[in-house]
Amino acid sequence: MANTAIKVNDLVVKRGRRRVLHNFTCSIPAGSVTGLLGPSGSGKTTLMRAIVGVQIVESGEIQVLGRPAGHKDLRSQIGYLTQAPSVYADLTVRENARYFAALYGLGAKVADAAVRDVGLSDAAGQLVANLSGGQRSRASLACAIVSQPRVLVLDEPTVGQDPVLRDELWKRFRDFADQGTTILVSSHVMDEANRCDRLLLIREGRLIADDPPAAVKASAGTDDLDQAFLNLILAGQEAAS
């Protein structure tokens, strides 16, 4: 692999009493869109939290842009979208974006551009508390992309969006990747998975596939990604039982 942006080696994470990630190893090429797929509760959010450096890990190592995850220097280079929208409900969309921009030393123009990028210009002056569910997650997304980071970790960024918006957002992600941003994005929507350069398939905290979408389909013996996902997950379950 020419250029690796994120390298996870032998990562073990416990949450509560349970082991959530078991000796997880993967690497994510720079400037690509990598999809993170897996059943609910399989450990996608946990892996993302570990990569952005907010998850206590048991053992193993994670390198992001050549530095250990959570390193101080990485904070200005990573954008993280949490699964549940994390914006201030008692501020307007614009105020939220401007605050997060300011934390990176960026001005109002950049913030307003991010609000436009997620299609919220018309609601920019609205309090987040008064937004619809889909609008609220886009407000949260605006705050994650506002700093134009080199690494974007997006936890289910398109949940609750209509097909037109989803398409626009994915075009936006592709633009970012073309400009060199490394994107890790989790999703449950297979038609989105098809738009990724690579897919990481995770089941019960273990990596079961790390391939381009076409190769995932081929190895599952089908050209429907939904079916491929089912086949691989079920095959894993049979092997385990």
């Binding site: 416990k14 949450r15 509560g16 952005v52 450096g53 907010v54 998850q55 206590i56 959570g70 904070r75 200005s76 990573i78 993280y80 949490t82 549940a84 929208p85 994390s86 914006v87 201030y88 409900a89 008692d90 501020l91 307007t92 105020e95 605050y99 997060f100 300011a102 934390l103 990176y104 030393g105 309090l127 705050c143 700093s147």
Partner: protein, 240 residues
């Protein structure tokens, strides 16, 4: 710079919450009016003066612990900690923003006390407002610290009686400190609110600021710094 922006963001949140702003100003004024009809003359002067210091402490303690808990439960804190924002900038941002809000509150409530309710102190109202604002910042600092130990709103509000009530009971408002049992006095000696109440009493009794008043203010300031540093220590970037 992120300190300035964080302070601004917290004040902006407060500004959007008009009802809270109204409550911040009306509630202490109404309670003082109640005291005015309960007590008269010198007793009112004594009690009202101390209440001018206790209201901002109590209210800011509650508001801050809820605000910080909200940052935790809505995930904004987790996100903030992935940005270049320093932990101390966040905590001091709360201290400054709510300190400013409390200074405005104290100025208005003191205005009501002096002009409408005829409060009489030897020292100047300016010092009363200064001490009230210092008290508010003390409430903020302790609220930030307490919120680290709360997982839910229910737990957070319970810290009010745990942290604030003993300080109010032992600060010399209900029983003069000289008349307390030795061990109660010893506890009272280590509670910061004791010193801000003493500072207010100094303003009540002397025309000019006394050395004791300045010393007391310095002690409150020291307690604020200690609490903020402890709060920064409880703020973890990595969580389970």
């Amino acid at each position: 710079m992120t300190l300035v922006h964080t302070t601004g963001r917290i004040l902006r949140q407060l500004r959007h919450d008009r009802r809270t702003v109204a409550l911040l100003i009306l509630v202490p004024s109404l309670l003082l009016t109640l005291l005015y009809y309960m007590f008269s003359g010198p007793v009112f002067d004594r009690v009202a003066l101390i209440m001018l210091g206790i209201f901002p402490f109590l209210i800011m303690f509650l508001i801050t612990s809820i605000a910080m808990l909200r940052e935790r439960t809505t995930g904004t804190l987790e996100r903030l900690l992935t940005t270049p924002l320093r932990k101390t900038d966040l905590l001091f941002g709360y201290g400054i923003a709510f300190g400013v809000a409390a200074a405005v509150q104290a100025a208005i409530v003191s205005g009501v006390a002096y002009w409408l309710l005829g409060l009489d102190t030897r020292g100047s109202a300016g010092f009363v407002i200064l001490i009230a604002a210092a008290n508010a910042v003390l409430g903020v600092a302790l609220g930030l610290l307490a919120s680290a130990f709360a997982r839910t709103e229910f737990q957070a509000v319970q810290f009010m009686p745990v942290v604030a009530l003993p300080q109010i009971l032992l600060c010399g408002l209900f029983v003069a400190r000289e008349d307390m049992a030795g061990w109660l006095q010893a506890i009272s000696d280590v509670l910061p609110l004791t010193y801000s109440v003493e500072a207010l009493q100094e303003v009540g009794a002397h025309a000019d600021p006394t050395g004791t008043m300045w010393r007391d203010l310095a002690i409150v300031g020291g307690a604020v710094i200690l609490a903020l540093i402890a709060a920064a220590g409880t703020l973890r970037r990595r969580t389970p």
